[in-house]
Symmetry: D3
Subunit: 257 residues, 6 copies
């Protein structure tokens, strides 16, 4: 078996238990299964978040739980919308349940420092609820020393980096769905799952300041991408990973050490 | 991107949509995150089932959805028990929800022929409930042409093969947790995630004819394995895969063609 | 009122409370309301299990709670299927709730040794979940001395008895739905609810190794029976009861004394 | 098997199906498992309601489903309170689920005229919710010809009968818990489950105009009875049954014919 | 800000916290959004209960939480029925959830004496369940000194007052929907939301002794009122308020002081 | 009763029904009950949103439903945190339920154009889920012409206005909790519920880029305000209202006319 892997999926249980004894920070990647345009595979949100979590975990001697693969319904203004075929989503209740139960299991194993790293904009509030319900349950059982961080990795890309990577202007993380950031990171981590030849050249989507339900498909570009990935590169991916990792490591250490 | 992959996780949405147009059989692997002794990684149930589903999908021109990674609570008589650290489980309600919502999403995409392939003994009834609830919902919406199979891959290993692979006698699929079958298949599909040197030599566990809750840890061997994997080999894995695949292909074609 | 009855339904509350003071084993029969062919009443699963529980309770100085009358959806391979008119079933969520709440009530009364005796194949996993949720709740409240057994009574019929009662071969407990075992026990306990003249003579059902949903009615014999009850007799019922009771008493005493 | 029984529990499925063909009124008795003082068994609410339902069913050529044995939490002002040992209750969610699912099953079988007959004061609102949720679900599936009555049998005892049976004054149905009405009906239907020698002679309980939670046990008489059953008799039971049956038959025929 | 207001909605958090320090009785008004005939606004149940709660709170130095504005489904025999347009209702599960969560929040703030004052007949059982679930949760967390009263304000109008205000006979609180009591209280508290010219003159509704679902609209008067409000007056409102307040103050002090 | 009120709470049911006949846009304000520092009452979120909804409704001939008074748990980075006494919050499940059921009721009344106007940052995703679940249910019943907008009113304040009202720089809507915007609008609509003398002079809170649970109280200023309200004025409130209303009216008309 792989020595020194950070991924719980690749560990046997005895190794995991000996690692738990030293109270590691446990990262739980939260993704989604969602269309990401014609140029990327649908696994992006879980796959990237797993790698970003690993990058941080390696730096803080932590480990990475199996990712949450399916996420909350894709919303039009941040993911194109759940009406798009391929996007396979969970309800609020189910996602909350998964998060809650993973926390309870990890805490039962002895984990006391947990980070939910989110990679799908729409998930955040439901992860929050799941964590809060789990902590309520733990408190009832007399366990009050579990501390949990919730973060989305893109929030740790600093303004300077944004200016550098988006010289023509940055339209916000919500429109980055299948855009330069995600594509660059995929080129870095999973180049086989990107086909830059299929990138559609188009201006960023213009989204209203509200949601309409049922979704009006006209608001989403036919590509399913909310901004153009043509300027993506593995090098930008490396920069994004390094910058975000650096800041996440800092935040995690600030909170947990 | 990989050409002709069966894995939805590796497809872009446009490729997926064009495949959906020919009404493929969609396989959903259902695993678990569970200790599998000192000699195997904890991802076994999801990882193997994903491969078994792929083996069948390739033969019937089908595709494989992203697996359900976390499963129902490990029970002592078939998985050693959920009290064992590392085993990370979902409640009935949450697993039912995941299954139900995946069905609804796939059906919305146009899938009409779905196979839930189970790789964790304890999951079956909850997968059944999730599928039934989804079909009830689909019926209400006027969709009554979705047909779903539920199977556990080991049920398709025939008696002749069992006699051949277990010359000293077969103690039942329930005790095969982390035993010869799973270990052989892991040696075939993921040799890096097995360490045969760590296999514990011990007689098969003797389990009562009932469950006790809270779990009495004494009933589970310290290894967490319910039978000994020492006789496992990649070659046996190949035989198991081939035999089960052959019979699953037959069953799937019988039902869907 | 009946003196020395084991049935809580026939006790007044004061008698019950005095019995509870001596920490009796409390049996909860879990049945179902389900077609059992043209030759038996639909109450079989609850009615038999109540009697089997009483037979064990009498031997261990225990008591029997009011049965759970409705059970989980009949599945085709073990009960003919929930599509059959007469079969009246509960969802997973509701059955789990009933089990959980009965445990909490009994524990509140002071019961510390509880046995859920199952008489409907499909129920088992949901009873397990209900018991586990209740014990989690009890643990939160500081009650950690409640111990619960879960069993299906047929698992206690030994191989020797099977050989004796099924001289032409035994096809498995799943196909015993409305077959020799259940019919023999009904002839023993409730002869008025059996009409042997209506037994359909047919070979045992041939069931696939998987489930199909929506149910394909063609797989279930028109009788609704999965094997033929013609060889049933009250005498066989007596043997089955005595053997299963003997082994259940042994198991219960092993665990609780 | 019993000829012409009204009880579904005693029918085989084929007989049931032939009865369903003539669109019978199906009665579902809703009881509770609850202390009823030192002089009566704890099965009173389900047992009596089953008999009352049968009395009406026989008159209108209807049938009686298996009763709902466990009911909602006993409240202090109508049942003494759920804190009393022996009383074994369900939550709102679970009782609602049972009712909903029974309606859906009966409707699937073809039943179009259903009566929920309640025998435990506290159940009523939850039965209402379960029925409403089921009808909502049926409406979605295009079934809009199911009609359901909800009643409590005591509401059909007329004022004249009350004056006759309670010459010293009537304190209301809520205080009749384990009092003259229930005891008289038990003496009529199940004399073996009553022991008049154990009736406690005491004035009716004085209950506040509100509920207090957690329950203040001081408000409930030690006997658990809210009024004295000393004046009960089988003859009064006969009168109560006949009068209530007469009026229920009238109401049922008014609605359904 | 208003000095000495009893309404939490009008307090700033710091004022609230200083009041909580003296362990006040906290009243939670539970209303409904429901048609009340052509002569009254649809806010009646929440609006009146808020005022009645304030009247009691002022007398016992208590405070009044923000009301629960939406309530359980209007039933035909006490509110005309939920089929009537304008009536906007919650399910059992949702109302139970609101009540439970308000209790948990107030208890977390330090409140130990809480009164749920109900103003919509149909709500009561669901408020009871919500309170009981909350207290169960609090007990698990070791908080066992929260005491909660549940009451409907009309239960505190005494017989003498009823005789005085209904000289032609009183038909029961259930038929008082949009009748003399509610209209008189609205004339007292919110005269602008009543138009006596629109009162329909009609005899009280004749309701069956049971419910029918789906609702048969014929049983509800076209006005939506179950009894005639023509005799209502602000003066009667004042009497009703004063009498009910007096008795509620007595009950609250009896329980809490 | 008030003529031409937009508030459903002030309408009688008959007036409401006649308005519904002309297919009005129905606005549902979604608030929260939450501490807003020492200078404002705790009703802010519901009270302001109700007024903003009315301002838009008046312009588009719409009506305003009774507000949702309690909202989702206050989060530290946008509301100071749910640990602060006075803040009284609902769980995700309950808020989703309220939203879903209000939609179903309004649709049943005939409403086809609905706007959920949000006034509490944390609510948005749960309102989205509730609306989506309701629309799914409506679709099953064959109702597919209900269209729903979801918006937060502050998103309609344009950049120019922000520059004008925040000459010293704008720190984002999340930090506007109890800051200039909310306080200015309260001064406009409810001057009696503001006390500018109690405004705490302090720099805006510095919040981390993540959440920590359990909440670390140190991150929230003692005032509970995330930015200083000293610069608030009724005049700014008027500008904010007018600008946001203007843009909301435009958006609503774009979608619905």
């Amino acid at each position: 078996m792989p020595a020194n892997t950070v991924f719980m999926e690749e560990m046997d249980a005895f190794t995991y238990r000996s690692i738990l004894d030293r109270n590691p920070i446990v990262f739980v990647p939260v993704g989604a299964f969602e269309q990401h345009g014609p140029h990327m595979a649908m696994c992006v949100d879980a796959a990237l978040t797993k790698q970003m979590a690993a990058a941080v975990a390696e730096r803080v001697n932590g480990i990475v739980a199996a990712p949450i693969i399916y996420g909350y319904k894709s919303q039009q203004r941040s993911g194109g919308g759940f009406h798009l075929s391929g996007t396979t989503s969970l309800s609020a209740a189910t996602l909350i349940g998964i998060v809650k139960e993973i926390v309870l299991n990890l805490a039962e194993d002895g984990a006391r420092r947990i980070v939910f790293m989110n990679g799908h904009y729409e998930n955040y509030q439901f992860v929050f609820e799941g964590v809060d319900l789990a902590l309520h349950d733990l408190k009832l059982s007399g366990t009050d020393d579990v501390k949990i961080m919730l973060m989305s990795y893109w929030d740790f890309v600093d303004d300077e980096t944004i200016d550098r990577l988006y010289p023509e202007g940055f339209t916000g993380w919500d429109l980055e769905h299948a855009g330069v950031m995600e594509t660059s990171l995929m080129l870095l981590f999973y180049p086989d799952l990107v086909n830059m030849d299929k990138v559609v050249i188009e201006p960023p989507a213009t989204m209203p300041k509200y949601d309409i339900l049922p979704i009006n498909p006209d608001y989403t570009p036919a590509s399913g991408c909310l901004s153009c990935a043509a300027a993506a590169s593995a090098e930008k991916g490396r920069i994004l990973r390094d910058v975000a990792t650096e800041h996440m490591v800092g935040a995690v250490l600030d909170e947990f050490e």
